[in-house]
Symmetry: C2
Subunit: 514 residues, 2 copies
């Protein structure tokens, strides 16, 4: 029995308490998805959806509001009606585009450790994005501000399990013609993770490219040789591509930067009520957008995407974490694998606060993202109210879930010594393994150490104030933001960036395209 | 455009509001797991765990506290030390037992619709079980009582997604020698789902068999021809089988009733600190118990089981929903498939209230149960504090999660009509599908309708009192319990049962074995 050794059980347990944290060698920066993708349909029915999407593009077409984009489609062989702006795209054009779109995309961040590869089999995570509101337990729910955006940018930088910088909340207190300066400045100066750029028209996009180029110390040519930022393109479902989105696809393609094409198709609202029908529409729209990138610049990096869930048929409200969203993600993964491109999917929830509903909906959709083999999970942390708000507390509690997923990407040791025959021989019936040699050799790195989960018993938990997950999360994000920033940018680059912004601000900035 | 039709959008939406609920034809009573099981190890390393477990039984042995069980093992060929009570079991004995243990078990409930089949590929769900405490928002946290047990039995009966009746909470207000009467009476008179019987010694088990037999109107022989109830056998890890558990294995086997063998192995405490080592121990113990059932009655129905998670190495407290539990479930599923038996796994959480932590931990472990191909998920609803309490509110919020899982067990329609080409042609760019013919034909059954999730927007949710998931769940369970019972037993059977209990009570009942 282990108690016979020179060290008492109590002494060993005390030692464990000192040493148990922070010894796990798990690399959260780069994750390979360990799960075989789950299908929603038989292979031939997935192919039928692909074929029907091609038929939608060829026979029904897509409405394209930007003349330059219609020109590109026409020169590529599409039938364009300049009166209705309808563009009908033949399958050969789509197949040609899919042949030139790269299957693997390398993205250069501010440091090599943060560089990313987008390809099938990788798992890249972003927190919630694009919310008009921010909320937390201290300051309440309010319109997003640049202060909120900066805080979320710092939190996104803080956690290794978040790989890309998204536009977490809208900085509504900054005028629309100057907002892209403030957001890009925050992204570049508060983190070396990959920055996001909104496609709100060519002038803003060019401003952002210039800021990123200069901050990274790249010539225009160097910038265009690799991808240094990304944008997200939402089609206007059903079957419509508006001016800023079309401009974004063209601008990013021509500059070799990454467009993530994501139709947002709500079954029963802007898409057919069936999973298969909504995916047919989503796939058609994505293929049209991907085709445009390759017409603008063959070989340009572009990521497939799908964000398909259902609405509440009683109210029309969008819902997330539903069985239908799960199935749609499984199906979208089949379509992505069929065309071979990296692809983006989304977690999400409709809950109004960070309660059990929020956690259940978010994790249900997150599992569907992981099991569908998506390359990029967006809205992985903080997103509530169907995307109208990002919550600081939910940001933290979701990170714990994401870290558990990251742990599942690691191998489970199964060498002979892990099977522990000797330990089983050492510990007698009725004994315990706390002090066994096998345990002592491994306890520091055996288990994931939780960050926000409280595993204390009811008595201890009560004595400590009966704090729920959100209350603990509130303390956690405040502590992170109260600490000195862990990323310190070059002072020269910051000065140069600020001078650029001052100069452009004086010149009137750049209005968004609509 | 659909607005051109005779019915306005508003009119159609109002119609949707009236009709959308309760039209889904999904059968929650019988679920087939749609997921290909996920492995934790390569096939050869899973086999190495199996082989090492056999070596543990053969070389190290298991301590068996019941003389009758040691006799059975000895007569089967085991090496038994009557001084230490150690039983060493050869691999041929285990292999022989695995050859006679049935791969498919039919369980007869109180009505044919509630009958169950336990075999690999099925998914059978139970709520949380075995908790000493109950808690809810109205009455607080308290020792479990027979009133609590009866209420949870009614709630378990209410939801089709719960298939077996477990001992949700301990009826601590009923003396130990009479408790099995009160619990079995509740199970039989409040539900026709499959009843559970505690293995707390032969006298109590025989009482329970007699009550079930009489209530179902079966002769002793008819009772023994099929399985009408089940028990759960927890070994005393490491490597120990106590008296009541060994008696239960023998009694259930001899009467053709089902033992679910579930070693509860906490990595780093009562089991090795590694996933592979804990599974080696758990597997060895399960094989020893399964072997005993087949020695008592070759062909007796027995279900494999594993409940393996880790402890917090700082405090020794058990943890659930951890990456290590997920991986252990994946590995246990490999071992179950290797021996071909149906098997039981468990969800769980360590959270002290029904908050985001509780939901995340529960769903993470529930996914691991589903993805590991477990036949039976126990602790699927309500379990908090690592099993010390079952919460009425969490019971409801977890049921929502379980119903989403049940929906994932259904096929995703993908006929040509589901692909919706005609609907896509009907709805023009910028339009919507709310009133499309394709939608109108399907809206009543297209989507899962949530029970507790609130999908209203922030304004409406605030106007309605800003109720979180637990507050809504509290109203929900109260409403169910305030409604008349949906199961009405035969008055004659109830009278007979009560007379039996009165008679046995007068005779002193039956003390539990320890």
């Amino acid at each position: 029995m282990v108690e016979d050794g020179s060290r008492s059980r109590r002494g060993r347990r005390a030692k464990l308490q000192e040493d148990a944290a922070d010894h796990r060698p798990v690399n959260y920066h780069s994750l390979d998805n360990p799960f075989t993708p789950v299908p929603a349909f038989s292979d031939d029915r997935a192919m039928a959806i692909h074929e029907t999407a091609l038929r939608v593009l060829q026979e029904l077409g897509i409405k394209v509001l930007l003349g330059e984009a219609r020109d590109l489609y026409r020169r590529g062989g599409a039938l364009v009606d300049e009166e209705t702006h309808m563009v009908r795209i033949g399958r050969e054009m789509v197949e040609q585009a899919l042949a030139t779109a790269p299957k693997s995309i390398t993205l250069k961040a501010g440091s090599p450790q943060k560089d990313l590869v987008l390809e099938l089999g990788k798992l890249v995570v972003q927190p919630g994005a694009g919310a008009p509101h921010a909320s937390d337990l201290i300051r309440g729910r309010r319109p997003g501000s640049i202060a909120d955006f900066r805080e979320f940018t710092r939190l996104t930088h803080h956690f290794d399990v978040l790989h890309m910088m998204p536009p977490v909340v809208e900085a509504q207190d900054v005028p629309a013609n100057l907002r892209h300066y403030a957001m890009t400045e925050a992204e570049l100066t508060l983190s070396d993770k990959l920055p996001f750029v909104y496609s709100r028209g060519t002038p803003q996009v060019m401003d952002c490219f210039e800021m990123i180029r200069n901050f990274r110390g790249l010539s225009e040519k160097e910038f265009q040789q690799q991808s240094h930022c990304y944008t997200i393109i939402n089609t206007n479902s059903p079957r419509q591509l508006d001016v800023p989105m079309a401009q974004g696809l063209i601008d990013f393609a021509r500059n070799n930067q990454v467009s993530i094409v994501t139709p947002f198709c709500l079954m029963g609202a802007m898409a057919p009520v069936t999973v298969a029908g909504a995916l047919t529409l989503s796939h058609a729209e994505a293929l049209a957008a991907i085709t445009l990138t390759q017409l603008a610049n063959p070989g340009a990096p572009v990521c497939y995407g799908a964000f398909t869930s259902n609405v509440d048929m009683k109210s029309g409200a969008p819902a997330f974490g539903t069985p239908e969203q799960v199935k749609a993600n499984f199906g979208a993964g089949q379509l992505a694998r069929l065309i071979g491109l990296p692809w983006r999917s989304a977690a999400g929830c409709a809950a109004n606060i960070n309660d059990a509903q929020a956690a259940h909906e978010t994790q249900m959709s997150a599992w569907s993202v992981v099991l569908s083999g998506a390359t990029v999970m967006i809205h992985g942390a903080g997103w509530i109210e169907g995307g109208l708000t990002v919550s600081f507390e939910k940001f933290i509690t979701d990170i714990e879930m994401l870290q558990v997923f990251a742990e599942l990407c690691t191998e489970t040791p199964s060498e002979d010594s892990d099977l522990a025959f000797e330990a089983l021989a050492e510990v007698q019936p009725g004994g315990h393994f706390f002090g066994a040699t096998h345990t002592m050799e491994r306890y520091q790195s055996a288990f994931y150490q939780p960050m926000n989960y409280d595993w204390s018993n009811f008595g201890t938990w009560t004595e400590r104030g009966s704090k729920d997950a959100s209350q603990r999360a509130s303390e956690h994000w405040q502590a992170i933001l109260a600490s000195p920033p862990s990323f310190i940018p070059s002072a020269d680059r910051v000065e140069e960036l600020e001078s650029f912004i001052a100069h452009r601000t004086e010149a009137g900035g750049a209005e968004p395209e609509s």
